[in-house]
């Protein structure tokens, strides 16, 4: 078969996310590529959390509805997922929760009592039973636990995992592959490492799902990565602190979601006017307002394209998987500094908190860019007019330079001005930067295509829907076209990619077709919309069914 899906479900607080990552680790250890979708409501204890872990011989980045193994800590985990269960599905459940199910019932209460182990180790019993069902050797199971469980809890987890292993029987055999065991990262983690690759000195953020985990990850690794990680009073403070750091010479990024980004927009506009670089990781979730905080959407594209008063160039990129999150976060940071424009890395909950095997070796290294620095000759002028529109940078503390940045319209030195000539020249200088950035991006893979050009049908998508579309496209022999850069829009690359596109559909996780609107603004036909706006990403089979209706 070469492909497996496992669902683990239970109440919030039972460690479903961590258990899911351990399951991904189990398959990863055998050389499989993994993808995990984590679904949870906005609460701390109770409710129903589940993770679907899919493992395959080839690269994947989306889940499918049916599962081969269902691990249920409670009755909800059985009832809520009946449509995923088929004849070949093995159910493993906690028999002590009076769960009514057919399969392997693990008396978790008894096991934990006998092993004198804390409740959280119940996950290891499930993992053990899964390993046995999947024909994975005990030594692989123990090896995964050794690398994921902290030393002081290891023995208890090994004992409980052994009990789970013994309580189940082998149903199928996951053959080890001749492929490296790749680490399993979330999109947030890949973006964070990408920012550091791009030269990040400081990360500033206020917690907000789905970007909080980026803050947590970088804070936990601040020493390992030699960066400052700061959590100020609110998102207004966040972006201002970032601009202060950057004014004084530190490459800085911030992270947030829609509501926090609302608060950052005056700072974004200040960044545009003052030409102070800042990179914003903007993880989308369904709005309006608080919406569904822990679910996913692609509803903020036009918000980030247009946020902030006034007109100023900006870079907006939308990675579709971990490798792109890494490469384009690095690129966004470097280009933000090279062209002194704000850069936005637009992700969503599905990508930010979803987990995947990450192959850093498969990342095409982004071109390196250093900021343009003042050479020290003559009098320093922060906004000196140049052909490219980019003025050389100096930072406060530099002898011989007075560095004046300004939120008002200003002259070359940085003094406030409202003269006709002065303000016109300033606006034109800013837009020359935008043009220079656009020219630079023409050498980047700003639009990616998958599949044969003569397919006759083309699926257009952006961001985290990339992999569901690639897999679904195979079913229809279709081509996939994905813009990585959304501003400045790579019109020439788009035109080239869409030659011979044939019938076009545009797949998006929103209700209005926001990429479609952007394409129309650019003079392109976005084709037929295939939209989903229930807070969940497309499962591959679900998308196939929707595409089938269109292509029929």
């Amino acid at each position: 078969m070469g492909e497996y899906s496992v669902l683990i479900g239970g109440k919030a607080g039972e460690g479903i996310n961590t258990a899911g990552l351990s399951i991904a680790g189990l398959f990863s250890r055998l050389g499989y590529r993994t993808y995990m979708y984590f679904d949870y409501p906005s609460l701390i204890r109770g409710g129903h959390n589940f993770a679907i872990i899919r493992a395959s011989e080839r690269t994947i980045g989306a889940h499918r509805t049916p599962v081969d193994v269902l691990l249920a800590f409670d009755q909800n985990s059985i009832e809520n997922h009946r449509e995923r269960v088929h004849d070949g599905t093995t159910v493993i459940y906690d028999a002590s929760q009076a769960v009514k199910a057919e399969g392997y019932g693990l008396p978790l209460d008894t096991i934990l009592e006998e092993e004198k182990a804390p409740p959280i180790t119940g996950n290891s019993a499930m993992l053990g039973a899964l390993a046995r069902v999947a024909g994975i050797g005990r030594e692989v199971l123990e090896d995964v636990l050794r690398t994921t469980v902290p030393e002081k809890h290891l023995e208890a987890n090994l004992r409980v995992a052994g009990r789970g292993y013994d309580a189940a029987g082998e149903v199928f055999t996951v053959e080890p592959l001749d492929a490296p065991a790749l680490p399993v990262l979330t999109g947030n983690e890949a973006a964070g490492l990408g920012l550091v690759h791009g030269g990040l000195d400081s990360y500033v953020a206020y917690p907000m799902t789905p970007s909080s985990n980026l803050l947590h990850f970088l804070a936990r690794h601040a020493e390992d990565l030699s960066i400052k990680v700061i959590h100020p009073e609110n998102e207004i403070g966040v972006i201002q602190m970032a601009l202060g750091l950057a004014y004084a010479g530190e490459k800085t990024a911030v992270g947030t979601s829609g509501g926090g980004f609302c608060l950052m927009t005056e700072g974004l506009s200040l960044a545009g006017m003052s030409e102070i670089p800042v990179t914003i990781v903007m993880g989308q979730r369904p709005g309006p307002s608080t919406g569904m905080p822990t679910y996913t959407a692609q509803g903020d594209l036009h918000f980030v394209l247009n946020a902030g008063q006034g007109e100023f160039p900006r870079l907006v990129v939308a990675p579709g998987d971990l490798e792109e999150a890494y490469a384009w976060s690095a690129t966004a940071l470097m280009l933000s500094w090279r062209y002194q424009v704000p850069a936005i890395v637009l992700t969503d909950k599905a990508l930010a908190e979803g987990a995947c095997s990450f192959d850093v070796g498969a990342v095409a290294p982004p071109p390196d860019h250093e900021p343009v620095l003042w050479d020290g000759a003559g009098e320093y002028r922060r906004y000196a007019r140049t052909e490219s529109g980019v003025s050389p940078l100096a930072f406060p503390g530099r002898e011989g330079a007075v560095v004046k940045v300004n939120s008002y319209a200003h002259d070359e030195t940085g003094f406030t001005t409202e003269t006709v000539k002065g303000v016109t020249a300033l606006q034109e200088k800013r837009f020359r930067k935008g043009e220079s950035l656009k020219a630079e991006l023409s050498t980047y893979p700003a639009v990616k295509t998958y599949g044969a050009r003569d397919a006759g049908t083309t699926i257009v998508c952006w961001g985290s829907e990339k992999w569901a579309c690639i897999e679904a496209a195979e079913e229809f022999g279709a081509r996939v076209v994905q813009p990585l850069v959304l501003a400045p829009f790579p019109a020439r690359q788009w035109k080239e990619a869409m030659i011979g596109a044939g019938r076009v559909v545009c797949v998006e996780n929103n209700a209005t077709g926001q990429l479609a609107l952007l394409l129309r603004q650019q003079g392109f036909d976005p084709g037929h919309p295939v939209l989903k706006y229930d807070g969940r990403p497309f499962a591959v089979d679900e998308l196939e069914a929707r595409l089938g209706e269109v292509f029929a």
């Binding site: 690398t147 994921t148 680490p183 990262l185 490492l193 550091v196 690759h197 030269g199 990040l200 000195d201 400081s202 500033v204 690794h221 601040a222 020493e223 390992d224 990565l225 030699s226 960066i227 400052k228 700061i230 100020p232 009073e233 609110n234 207004i236 403070g237 966040v238 201002q240 602190m241 970032a242 601009l243 202060g244 750091l245 950057a246 004014y247 004084a248 530190e250 800085t252 005056e266 700072g267 200040l270 003052s274 990450f358 850093v360 406060p396 503390g397 002898e399 011989g400 330079a401 007075v402 560095v403 004046k404 940045v405 300004n406 939120s407 008002y408 200003h410 940085g414 003094f415 406030t416």
Partner: protein
Amino acid sequence: MNPEQSAGRTAGGLISPVQNTWCPGCGNFSIEHMMKSAIAELSEEEGIPLENFVLLGGIGCHGKLVDYLNVNSFYGIHGRSVPAATGMRLANPDLKVICHVGDGDIYAEGLDHLIFAAKRNSDITVIVHDNRVYGLTTGQYTPTSPTGFKGRSTPGGSTEHPVNPLEMMLAAGATHIARGYTKKVRHLKDLFKEAIVHRGFSFVDVLQICATYFNLTDYYNAHAYEMQEDEVDTAEFASALGKIREWDYDRDAPIPLGTFYSVERPVYEEKFRALTAGKPDRRALVRKVLEEWR
């Protein structure tokens, strides 16, 4: 010592060519010239290079000050100077970061940032141009306007009581708290120098004359006085609080000027320094994190 004599040449060179547009008689002139002299004198006396000073301005008449001085500056937006200042100090510990803010600017629009900077003892200086009225938006009440203030948004008189910003800063954790008055320029300059030299969060509320919308010159001249050394124990919270409460920005009372509170506490930015020391090869660090992934 005449403030214009010491470090006079340096100070003179700090005036920018930008045309000044404050109203005649505006208290901002005193603040500008005393800040200019404070910087020049600190540069000569303490050996702080001029390029290590950064001035931040918010939006309001006060903010124009940063255009008028030839010093590094960040002319930001309404109420938001303070977190930007903390960012600069985080990036470069050698910088002397001074926020010029207005009373509407920082007590209304940006109060959260002010309280948090005090709470975390960020090593920055905040100078409030407290004219107790919005000038640039032409005469509305601010958080420090007295009860009954008839502004253009409150023609019947404001029904709110003013805040006592010094009391608020003491409660928030500020480690250096002072009040000055724009008609006492030498005293004001000394307060500025003391605040800039202070390690930690320093705060100076400057009673500033607004010649056009709220001219309190006669009132301040009659009520304001410079505190003598034995009038307040600046190391004692309770002593500082008592003195700060002598006037509440509302009722008639003597208005003490000077430093109310000054203590040493660990500086917020210092704990971040070790993290980014040296020139680390961050890409090697990224590879290491991935190799040790668990």
